[in-house]
């Protein structure tokens, strides 16, 4: 699935292993790909940040964050519907950085 890549840094909690976050971010920076990185999706959802709607409207999303159920309903809490077909969520709390990067970069042209 080509489309946008969104990386959540989960900046205000320690629930995502720091080494996974670092490796995913570093992997994205090493690749010649465009991506959006946000400090914390929870904070943006609480504020109803308009960027969430822009991201959802900008085509299929591949998201590096936490549990897909949480991410889907975080977007919904900000009034943004995230259809299963429009978004693939990679879970940095449970998956390895390699697996997350593989899924994020799948379909990207160098």
């Amino acid at each position: 699935m080509a489309g946008q890549i969104l990386y959540c840094h989960c900046a205000y909690a320690r629930v995502v292993p720091p080494e996974t976050k670092t490796a995913v971010l570093e992997g994205l920076l090493r690749q010649d790909v465009e991506f959006q990185a946000v400090p914390d999706l929870c904070e943006m959802a609480a504020r109803g940040d308009a960027r969430l709607g822009e991201l959802a409207a900008g085509g299929p999303l591949r998201i590096a964050a936490c549990y897909p159920r949480a991410v889907k309903w975080l977007f919904a809490s900000a009034g943004v519907e995230l259809g299963d077909a429009d978004a693939a969520v990679c879970n940095m709390r449970t998956d390895t950085a390699e697996r997350v990067l593989d899924r994020l970069l799948a379909g990207e042209e160098p």
């Binding site: 205000y12 994205l28 946000v38 914390d40 959802a45 609480a46």
Partner: protein, 265 residues
Amino acid sequence: MTAISPSTVRVIVADGSAAAGQLDAVRALLEKGYAVSRVRSTPAAAGPDDVLLGSDLLPETEPASVLAALGRLRSDRGLPEGGAWKPWFPVIDYTRCTNCMQCLSFCLFEVYGVSGDKKIQVQNQSNCKTECPACSRVCPEVAIMFPKYRHGPINGEPVNEDDIRREAMKVDISALLGGDVYAMLRDRSARAKSRFSKERDDERALKERQTCLATLRQSLDVPAEVLAALPSPDEIRAKAEAAAVRAAAAVQQATETERHGDRNL
């Protein structure tokens, strides 16, 4: 209530700029609350909260200088510092929620409210007490998540049958504490007062209170700081009663709306 900023300042980093591949620079921006867009070419137009790295607005590329310049920019625009509020609040999974309003009845901090179409919703996120997941414990449908919580399914893990059984056991506060949680607090408080007056034993009353709070802490995973900050028993009773009235009214209105809809079919 914590002030929440209306938008996130985004730093646009184009390929070829000095910071494009710098992990430390991008990480520092994210940790200070700035969004970062890595793009292949400089965009023709940017949004009002976008700042292009290397532009007149942000000519610096050294991380420390970039952060200092962004700090000035944020201050000029009246935006708060990133991280001023830890984003801890409940998120409702509406595929599980049955609109029973137990969360609204339970929460003493008015985090929950009811939408125009009588659905439960989280309305005051910043009222929520950091690290307190207690409302998710009383949800009979395991529909309330706290994405930054340590354990599943409250953290958003898929819900399985074992979770439902386990949460149902935790929901059974009556069995555990001998009444609803507010009634228990009131009774304990009254009993402690009574003992205090009869026995003049303030140490025993204090111990009683500590035991009661420890039970609450363990059963609902409520942080000690939240329990310490609870209002007085009278205020708790008033808040709980007000919330129960709001919840009952919302349920009744939702039921009537449903009935009215059925009649119109």
